[in-house]
């Protein structure tokens, strides 16, 4: 690691790595020193706000290990339908000026650098210009997307989330929007959710601590074997219904979801942004079972087993009646796929470890790109992959958290369309991420986190999942495309 830092394993990183890493370490020293001086913080009465903290008077740290990540109390609160269950949850108990809304955005400076990108040898293209492999680097101050998050209770035991979310250019979509009937028949084992929501993943991608382009998502949560027409990601919010249950302290939980096979798409398409292709009419299913054990002074240890079974269409019913080529109307020829695996959340006092494993399997047809009305080509096999990560978080105190992650995905069976043309490890991904967040104020009405992160991924022969670089695959399928992100920003919400 040190040698890499000192010399640079790759000349594309040598020049800037040292000053940036030194800067981050310098800031860290200041932050740690600053933290020591603060043990019993004073508070300020400021008239601006985070919705749940504001509603109940609890500090952010009551529900969040380090916001946005939830701790166990926060998970129980969430499982109860955003209710403390003291008969004071209904909105009628709040001052009429209370509104369950939180805004969040992260202005930042970031640097994206991706190697092995096909670029013009002569910038602008021109006579004699060829396509060569080069590094593409961009850096600037920037904005993140924005969350306009509204969640809470409409009435006792009826809760909701409405989360319009935008990207950094203010293109909006609905990330979540659902109504949930909580504690049906007075039992915490029956809760019914209807709408668009995040799947009941133990390790939530929406509430984790990473923000950079290469680190701000779990590769495993969005990976598909290259060449497969499957577009599923377990980290994408899906749309449908969910029946979920838990015991009083959420140490035992189950969830069963019935979802449309449209990747959470809206308007009968497979995307929640305009212009998506039509979806099919079938359903996907997701099941998860979670159990946690109290490990005394260490904390609690939680395990989840999950399975997702879905279908995607292999061809479309089309019409050419309008002239100008066939227009797809609805996806047909559904072929199944599944994702199974386990997740863990392990606590060792201030250290939290999050292991994750997934085995993915697509129908052989999905790997051929052919309609399933025709026979399967000889030698076509179901594309499969195994992936997983181990994430670690260290909470120095509720105001300072260090995090890191190592992720690896290996394709175990290539899609038929690529068979023979690519090496066995085509599509494999290795990713690393490291960083820290410092929260200068611990307050119930607003939060600021100073976020520093460095993430790097290597994808073999494919466009990095972050989309960094030229967005085109490398010139050779054997090229290991390194893509790195440096992210420094202020994540704030109120």
């Amino acid at each position: 690691m040190y040698k890499w830092f000192a010399n640079g394993a790759d000349r594309t990183r040598k020049s800037w790595v040292r000053p940036v890493v030194t800067c981050a370490l310098l800031m860290l020293a200041i932050v740690i020193g600053d933290c020591r001086a603060v043990s019993a913080l004073p508070t300020r009465k400021v008239m601006a706000i985070p919705a749940f903290a504001r509603k109940y008077g609890l500090p952010c740290s009551a529900c969040h290990t380090a916001w946005p990540e939830l701790n166990n109390f926060g998970k129980v609160f969430q499982d109860n339908g955003y209710q403390l269950m003291n008969d004071r949850d209904s909105l009628i108990w709040q001052n009429p000026s209370y509104f369950p809304i939180t805004f969040r955005i992260t202005p930042n400076w970031h640097r994206e650098s991706t190697g092995d990108q096909p670029v013009d040898s002569i910038p602008g293209g021109g006579t004699g210009s060829t396509i060569i492999s080069r590094n593409v680097t961009q850096a600037a101050f920037d904005l993140s997307g924005m969350d306009l998050w509204s969640a809470g209770t409409i009435y006792k035991n009826i809760s909701f989330v409405l989360l319009p979310s935008s990207d950094a250019t203010a293109v909006w979509h609905f990330e979540s929007a659902f109504l949930r009937f909580d504690n049906i028949k007075g039992s915490s084992w029956l809760n019914f959710k209807f709408g668009r929501f995040e799947l009941d993943n133990l390790i939530s991608e929406k509430r984790f601590l990473f923000l950079s382009a290469n680190g701000g998502f779990y590769q495993t949560y969005h990976f598909n074997v290259p060449g497969s027409i499957n577009d599923f990601g377990i980290g994408d919010n899906q749309i449908g219904v969910e029946l979920m249950g838990h015991n009083a302290d959420s140490s035992t939980r189950y969830s069963i979801a019935l979802l449309s096979s449209n990747e959470g798409g809206t308007n009968l398409t497979e995307s929640n942004l305009p212009g998506g292709l039509p979806s099919n009419r079938s359903f996907d299913g997701y099941m998860a079972f979670t159990k946690s054990f109290n490990a005394g002074s260490w904390g609690y240890e939680e395990f989840q087993a999950y399975a997702y079974v879905g279908q995607r269409g292999t061809y479309y019913q089309t019409t050419s009646a309008g002239g100008g080529g066939p227009v797809p109307l609805v996806a047909l020829g559904n072929e199944p796929f599944y994702r199974v695996g386990f997740a863990g959340q392990l606590h060792f006092k201030n250290l939290e470890l999050l292991p994750y494993f997934m085995h993915g399997h697509d129908s052989a047809y999905l790997g051929t790109g052919l309609p399933d009305t025709a026979g399967l080509p000889i030698g076509a096999k179901a594309p499969t992959f195994n992936g997983g990560f181990i994430e670690g978080q260290y909470f120095v105190n509720p105001q300072l958290v260090f995090f890191g992650r190592f992720e690896k995905i290996g394709v175990t069976q290539q899609a038929f369309v690529n068979e023979g043309a690519v090496p066995g490890n085509f599509g494999d991904v290795t990713a690393y991420s490291v960083g820290y967040r410092y929260y200068p104020i611990m307050f119930s009405r607003g939060g600021v986190a100073w976020h520093n992160e460095y993430s790097i991924s290597k994808s073999i022969g494919i466009v990095p999942l972050s989309g960094d670089g030229s967005g085109l695959p490398p010139l050779l399928p054997t090229n290991g495309v390194w893509s790195s992100s440096v992210f420094i920003g202020f994540d704030f919400d109120f």
């Binding site: 020049s15 800037w16 310098l26 043990s39 609890l58 003291n86 200068p440 100073w450």
Partner: protein, 316 residues
């Protein structure tokens, strides 16, 4: 290309240094030692212990948990002046006075460690005190010890002796009727109202010991899952009126009720919770076919107090 490299290095280093300086000043400008009122003193966490069952809690281990969970309401100095206290009703407990509502000890005495331990785990219904049942037993014991550092009473006084709750006699119609007679005789209805709906003649003038308005418990409110602040079992009801709810207008009746009579009163009080399934309501239903069937023997209260703009239900 090679000529540009050192330049690029220097340029990036300068840019990096400028960023460092900007971020350093901006972060340090946020340095949170801005005093709110008067000079900020660092809280000395003196060593206090708690003993619940075979668990020993110590105050030093609870410092981070108190900061994480409790400070927003109860305040850094445990005086109930957390940043959100002004918007809460009822107000968060002021630990510096060491007066607690939910005890198994006599009025005016300190609660046992177990009383505080149970309150943390159970939360307080109709208030903003959450149900902290996700905390491990050790963590809760440590927090109980931490609460004790705020009041000097814990140094000098011993916790009161828990009252003995005798075994509950069977639920019979006689028991319930006798309880009803006691409810009238002891004038509970003056605050709680003849049907226990918190609308007695004195209900609207009640204030707690900090002079904040407070309403008496409304037995008829809530469904099958309704609880009391200090528990949800018959034993808990027994303890509530035998030890009084300190800090509120609810007095202790320990000197004026015999244990058997007390149980009769408990059975009657359960029948006031008309939406809650209970053995007591079953007995009444079996005898009279409807609840509540009791005859209103209480004297007619004075004309009702003028309606106020409080939230519905009057839960305190």
């Amino acid at each position: 290309m090679n000529r540009l490299k050192p330049m690029r290095f220097i340029a990036t280093a300068i840019v990096g240094a400028v960023f460092c300086a900007t971020f350093a000043t901006s972060v340090l400008a946020q340095a949170p030692d801005v005093p709110q009122v008067g000079p900020l003193q660092k809280l000395q966490v003196k060593h206090m212990e708690s003993h619940i069952g075979n668990i020993t809690g110590s105050s030093e281990n609870a410092k981070t948990n108190y900061r994480r969970y409790c400070v927003g309401c109860h305040g850094d100095y445990g005086d109930g002046n957390g940043e959100n206290a002004v918007w809460l009703d009822p107000k968060p407990r002021d630990f510096t006075i060491a007066t607690f509502k939910c005890r198994s000890t006599l009025t005016g005495t300190l609660p046992t460690d177990e009383d505080l331990f149970n309150t943390i785990a159970r939360g307080l219904t109709n208030s903003n005190m959450p149900i902290w049942n996700h905390l491990s037993k050790q963590e809760r014991a440590d927090l109980v010890a931490y609460i004790k550092i705020f009041s000097p009473r814990w140094d000098k006084e011993k916790a009161g002796t828990p009252i003995t709750v005798p075994p509950e006699p069977p639920v019979t119609l006689e028991s319930i009727s006798h309880g009803e007679a006691l409810f009238t005789k002891l004038e509970c209805w003056k605050c709680h109202g003849p049907h226990g709906e918190g609308d007695g003649p004195s209900a609207s003038t009640l204030t707690d010991s900090q002079n904040n308005p407070i309403r008496p418990y409304n037995f008829a409110l809530g469904g099958n899952d309704s609880r009391f602040k200090c528990g949800s079992t018959n034993q808990d009801i027994y303890k509530i009126f035998m030890t009084g709810v300190d800090g509120t207008p609810m007095p202790s009746f320990a000197d004026v009720i015999q244990p058997n009579d007390a149980w009769d009163l408990v059975h009657f009080l359960r029948t006031l919770q008309i939406h809650r399934k209970s053995k007591e309501n079953d007995v009444l239903m079996a005898a009279h076919g409807v609840i509540p069937p009791y005859v209103d023997k209480t004297p007619a209260p004075a004309p009702a107090a003028p309606a106020d703009n409080k939230s519905p239900g009057g839960g305190q």
